[in-house]
């Protein structure tokens, strides 16, 4: 197991988890408002603050000004270590082409001071929700850029992750698609999705996730997971992306809700669900 810095964050009842923000500072602002309106007692950001969208520093400034605890995603790991690429984990040349554009833009637009801040972030955060142990990671508890897709994360593997990492719940992001699976009450995996771009479903809203300790029944048992849609001024974001000369393919995704890149990594079910 690679060495990962872990921070203990304390005990909470209702927490908001913010997945990949990809420079979508407008969606981030709206998500913060929605989460607070729902009475969360903490928010956590799970990495990949930059990429894809415009003006990456704006997202980082919001997170820092608000004092939101955060972990590194592959973007923060790469930017803070001056890596040559984003280590997103794509395998297709076209996907890698767009990843390179996205990384080069974000790298050039992120200040050295923000990169230092990213380098000091932990890889994991542990906290408690009620009586349950929760482990926050970017991709998976074992690899920062492992993709945990709904259709590729079977129960036996979930149980192994929980066992190996001594936790009740794993919260991750990295895929851009939100889902949850509880293999027994209060134990499972939540992928908190992404604030940065829509969920490839033809809708322009993006998502974050609230997990709450409850005493209710049901398969989720003591933990209740809610995916919260975030409707924001996506047209403004699209115009800013155009002004920054980001690829028209990225802008199309913001305007239509359909992914135009990172498609080759999608498993059969997730690929079938999208337009492209």
């Amino acid at each position: 197991m690679p060495d990962v810095t872990t921070v203990e964050a304390g005990t909470f009842r209702r927490v908001a988890f913010l997945g990949g923000i990809y420079s979508n500072y407008l969606a981030l602002q709206e998500a913060l408002r929605l989460a607070r309106a729902r009475g969360v007692d903490a928010l956590f950001a799970l990495g990949d603050f930059g990429a894809f969208g415009p003006h990456p520093d704006r997202t980082v400034e919001i997170l820092r000004d608000e004092g939101i605890p955060a972990i590194q995603g592959n973007y923060e790991e790469s930017l803070s270590s001056a890596a040559e690429d984003c280590h997103c984990g794509y395998t297709d040349p076209r996907d890698n082409h767009f990843a390179e554009i996205s990384y080069a833009y974000t790298r050039d637009q992120t200040t050295a001071e923000h990169k230092r801040w990213m380098g000091a972030l932990p890889g994991h955060i542990r906290l408690r929700l009620g009586s349950r142990q929760v482990l926050l990671c970017h991709g998976s508890p074992r690899t920062i850029n492992e993709f945990l897709w709904r259709s590729m994360t079977p129960d036996a593997f979930v149980r192994k992750l929980l066992r190996d990492h001594e936790t009740d719940l794993v919260v991750c992001t990295h895929t851009g698609l939100h889902w949850s699976r509880f293999v027994e009450p209060g134990r499972g995996v939540v992928n908190c999705g992404a604030l940065g771009r829509p969920a490839n479903d033809g809708q322009t809203n993006v998502w974050f996730t609230i997990v709450e300790a409850t005493s209710g029944g049901g398969l989720a048992g003591e933990l209740r997971c809610e995916f919260v849609p975030v409707v924001y001024d996506h047209e403004r974001l699209a115009r800013e992306m155009e002004a920054e000369r980001l690829p028209p393919e990225f802008v199309e995704t913001i305007r239509t809700g359909h992914w135009t890149s990172c498609l080759e990594i999608l498993p059969a079910k997730e690929r079938a669900a999208g337009k492209y």
């Binding site: 590729m152 079977p154 492209y276």
Partner: protein, 290 residues
């Protein structure tokens, strides 16, 4: 011994992928580049029956396996293949590596039903070795190009979107121009979301006759691997089951030293990357995973 003269060890990080050679080395085709020389008469490895597969699936469940792969030979020659797939899809995602020649409408309907009934992905990977009969058929056999296209069309008619797997026997397939050519070809035959995987050749089995064997310099002797490089190798997180036991990977099933045990648990240990094929996986970035 000097590190320059030794072979690297790949650790075993845990059971992510289980490969099952469900059809043994039996295939209806006799492709000229097949690294296990599968053919209608090659009984080096025999078919696996449902009961045998179930025993390994039970062990895999305990080990927390993440993905299952079925290969051969040709998996659809196994008479119990649909029961095997149904049983496996009840516990995790599945990829089937097929030549596509058995994908008739009734089979494709059944596959669609199996896919719909499972929360996990079912991926069909179809091998093709060119964008026309003139490039494909010399490798895969006379008339196969048209029959592969029919299989793809039948899958597409039932809403299943295969991953087309091409080897570098198709000259230029690995370049970005070659990929572009192939993706355009797949769109032309009606796949609106084309999926393509290009794989390097392994200088084993029939391929040795078609082109050449490995040269002495094609070896990992003296190399050392980072953790990331080890993790990228199939043998650091997967194993292959055949009728002869559990092997280190899907490639080295004809190398006795690559047989690691009878049960999956016995094979939870490191492996010395002594074989020339290990060079292809490391240096050319070959991964058998979908």
């Amino acid at each position: 011994m000097s590190a320059a003269l030794t072979y690297p060890l790949v650790p075993f990080y845990g059971f992510d992928t289980l490969w099952v050679q469900v059809a043994g080395t039996l295939c209806n085709l006799k492709c000229t580049h097949c690294f296990v020389s599968a053919s209608p008469t090659n009984h080096n490895h025999e078919m696996l029956d449902l009961g045998t597969v179930k025993r390994y699936l039970a062990e895999a469940l305990e080990l927390g396996v993440k993905e299952y792969y079925f290969t051969g030979g040709e998996p659809f020659m196994n008479r119990e293949i649909f029961e095997i797939l149904e049983t496996t899809l009840a516990q995790g995602p599945v990829s089937v590596l097929t030549n596509g020649l058995f994908l008739r409408p009734d089979s494709c309907r059944r596959l669609r039903q199996l896919s719909d009934a499972s929360p996990w992905s079912l991926d069909l990977r179809i091998s093709i070795d060119g964008w026309d009969a003139a490039t494909n058929d010399p490798v895969r056999g006379e008339g196969t190009f048209e029959r592969i296209l029919q299989g793809i069309a039948h899958l597409a008619a039932f809403g299943l979107n295969p991953v087309l797997t091409v080897t570098e026997a198709c000259a230029g397939a690995g370049s970005s121009e070659g990929r572009g050519h192939f993706l355009a070809f797949l769109r032309d035959i009606g796949l609106t979301k084309p999926r393509l995987k290009v794989m390097p050749l392994l200088r084993l089995g029939a391929e040795v006759e078609r082109t050449r064997a490995y040269a002495s310099w094609e070896s990992l002797r003296g190399h050392s691997l980072t953790r990331g490089e080890s993790a990228a190798l199939v043998c650091s997180s997967g194993r292959m089951v055949t009728s002869k036991g559990v092997f280190v990977c899907p490639i080295l099933i004809d190398s006795p030293e690559a047989r690691m045990g009878e049960t999956l648990r016995e094979t939870d240990r490191e492996f010395v990357l002594r074989h020339s094929a290990c060079y292809t996986c490391h240096a050319e970035g070959l991964s058998c995973r979908t």
